[in-house]
Symmetry: C2
Subunit: 480 residues, 2 copies
């Protein structure tokens, strides 16, 4: 019966949505809370998020950022100060109206994002050019009242980091925006092994209140794009709304320039979706809750021989790796193999009586299923090697899939055909008008995911929709 349970996951290739939901449940990454759209992140899922936090926080600190914590609640009047901002977020806000038995004089928004409360504080803290730059990040929960939800990818409450910086000049702010964009790209590619395209959003798709939004986009196995992180140049919009001014070196009073940027627990969802297979999760070693599972293989007569050796292996490896050791006697080795494969542990080490005689172990890769006999003397060396190889192989696959599913066309009929039949990213010429952008969305559900940072040559090219001269070659896709 237990063998059967392992096989119960729908095939990823046949029904990605069902597979995704089922693998999250079976691998105990998350569970539905009894409130609409809310999720519990269980230990196996939270451990991935903790690894993401640790690895990303290190990068933020290395580039001069510090963490702080701002209030969960934002008075409605603050949210309303920046006109576009409130328009963008008000429909998804959860409102607190009572504290204890008292009705509040002004209702409080549960933060959907923190620009407005943070800017209110920055206006108190910023006086002089000496106070700049302010480079603050916050790890926090936010709430957006979503209609359609999916674990990790879109939930009413989610966890994220939000950076909020203040600068003396536009150039300094723009430099920060790009620094963070490249950190996101490098982080996701290196640690999550997911190929990233980075670029700028169209005006229609940018953050409510920003001058410009930059984005990192990844391709999911069903050919839909996923926005994995954004970095906004807020210009002086919030500085003007919240009166953030400083005396510059020339003794003139100037409005400050700001940025904000974030990634969320959505990255856990992307990691699950990109790398998993029909047998369950495949988690990149750098963020895997457990990187290695050790399964001793023994009949009762061999127990005293095998377990002490298996435990010694555990002791040797746990200094440098996250190791789980599974000597349970109520399950067969075969069941354990399937169980830990389903949970996505990158490397399995099997050790039985014959291995012990030969002073070796068997290492099994989760990504390729390759079984490798490794001498006990080379245990640490080979473990490091294969974990590194798995990380690289997962990225190679993601990169290959993404590149193979990034197509070019200048013909709108072909574009529609690709989006409908093959999906993926389609690079196409666009005149820059919102009309054409909207028409593509209505016709195909595809949106402009990004305008590339290094723009291609549009000389002589025409917008695939209206035929007017093209201003950009942009990446379209359907998206999550």
């Amino acid at each position: 019966m237990e063998e059967k349970l392992v096989q119960e996951i729908p095939r990823k290739s046949e029904n990605l949505s069902q597979w995704y939901i089922e693998v999250i449940r079976r691998a105990e990454l998350a569970d539905y809370a009894p409130m609409k759209g809310m999720m519990v992140i269980r230990p196996a899922g939270y451990a991935i998020w903790e690894n993401i936090q640790r690895l990303l926080d290190k990068r933020f600190k290395e580039t001069g950022h510090t963490n702080a914590y701002f209030p969960l609640f934002i008075p409605e009047s603050f949210l309303k100060k920046e006109a576009e901002h409130v328009e963008g977020f008000a429909p998804e806000v959860a409102w607190v109206t009572h504290g204890g038995d008292e009705e509040l004089q002004e209702r409080l928004a549960v933060r959907p994002t923190s620009e407005s409360i943070i800017c209110a504080m920055y206006s108190k803290w910023v006086h002089s050019w000496r106070d700049l730059p302010i480079l603050i990040n916050q790890w926090a929960n936010v709430v957006r009242w979503e209609k359609v939800t999916r674990p990790f990818l879109r939930t009413t409450e989610f966890l994220w980091q939000e950076g909020h910086t203040v600068h003396a000049t536009y150039e300094d702010a723009q430099e920060e925006v790009m620094r963070i964009l490249y950190i996101y790209k490098e982080f996701i590619e290196t640690e999550l092994a997911i190929k990233i395209y980075a670029g700028r959003k169209s005006d229609k798709e940018k953050f409510a209140g920003a001058l410009a939004t930059y984005t990192v986009e990844a391709l999911m196995p069903d050919g839909k794009a996923l926005q994995a992180g954004t970095s906004h140049n807020l210009g002086q919009n919030f500085a003007k709304a919240f009166d953030i001014r400083f005396e510059d070196k020339d003794q003139k009073l100037k409005y400050a320039w700001q940025t904000s940027w974030g990634v969320s627990t959505r990255l856990v969802g992307a990691t699950i979706m990109v790398h998993g297979d029909d047998d369950g999760l495949v988690i990149p070693p750098r963020v895997a809750p457990y990187q290695i599972v050790i399964v001793p293989i023994f009949k009762m007569k061999d127990k005293e021989t095998v377990l002490p050796v298996a435990e010694k292996i555990k002791e040797r490896l746990k200094e440098n790796y996250r190791v789980v050791y599974d000597p349970r006697e109520e399950y067969t080795p075969g069941w354990k193999f399937a169980e830990w494969e389903m949970r996505g542990v990158p490397l399995r080490i099997e050790i039985g009586p014959r291995d012990i005689k030969e002073n070796s172990v068997v290492i099994v890769r989760r990504d390729t299923r390759e079984k490798i006999k490794v001498s006990m003397d080379e245990l640490e060396e080979k473990t490091a090697y294969f974990l590194d190889e798995i990380q690289k192989e997962l990225f190679r696959r993601s990169e290959k899939f993404t590149e193979e599913n990034t197509r070019k066309t200048e013909d709108y009929e072909e574009f529609k055909h690709i989006i409908e039949e093959k999906r993926g990213f389609v690079i196409a010429p666009w005149c820059g008008s919102q009309e054409c952008e909207m028409k593509v969305k209505e016709d195909t559900k595809a949106t402009i995911r990004l305008i590339p940072l290094e723009e291609g040559d549009v000389e002589g090219k025409k917008c695939m929709v209206c035929g007017k001269p093209a201003r950009h070659l942009v990446y379209f896709a359907r998206s999550y």
Copy 2:
């Protein structure tokens, strides 16, 4: 003028409350948010919390706990399931009544603590003795609508960790409760250098819904006690309210036994209050945002000589320590000394032209103001030594102060006199009745902080209030 700013802090010995507020503002640990009772934790304050998180989380993981994340919102009906629990918390709940434009069918509590939502999930997850124990912790924000607030010590929103565990037997649960209590005591004494008394709360003071609450209590410089953390044995109260049952090894269906336990950003407040002095903060090295400040001392002609040496010192030390380097030319060395002293950096390293000639530096301890000439060859060794000495010295002071202010009496008049004139802890015999407990509170504002784990001999002793035979020797104090 800047020299004057440094001196502006009220004397700690003369007005602790004013000193506390002012040092938090001046050292930029926190700021008031524009909403009643809400606080912003600024980078210097948050860095202390991050160190607390890291050092405590390590201890939780070493004892088999994992982290998870449960929803911020709890339906009102869930909160009501455990009768005592809702009675205790309902008056301080912030209520969400609207999501976007819609009024909710059932209002949602912003979690004041998470027992009720977590137990709802545990009732789904627990089926068999094989599922036990569940040892989950959560790092999260919680909201309690407080009337009187004070930065870090009592705020409407605060950050904390809350552990929630499930066990098969009372004994297992009680063992967990005590394991955590000792972790808290050891952690606070080792890392925060604050002397702790650990014990059990009286029934009147226990957690709403618990069988028994255990507590770690510290003494503040004004002689008031501060509850620094609690560990609750929830018994089967929540298991019965939320139907958490498991099939035991004997195949009988049984209600599970539970614990919950937490410490909060209040610990940052305790650390500030206990160790600071008239010149500002004194932060224990283990949790200090910066452990060492390097101040190069130079006139313009020596700049090229001094700065490269100072930078080399920074490079040598920053591998193992959190170091700040302050070569700013717009401030005098004297101003910097005062500024970094106010910010509580445990160790200052001064390096000037004469030190360079002598191949040495001057190390200054924040706790004793001692200046020590150290050979450059012994830099790492001496730095480690003095940081360790400072940590120990701070604990010695806290321990001495706490012990000197822990008095015994069996006479109620003397008790009242001590509480009024000397404050501190007073150990006194108590009959165990709530009447006497209440009378002490009414007469003196002192409450029972704890019943010691190793109970003293009460043979022949009488309750200091009613004169009936004493059941316990308990620790009374006024408290925060």
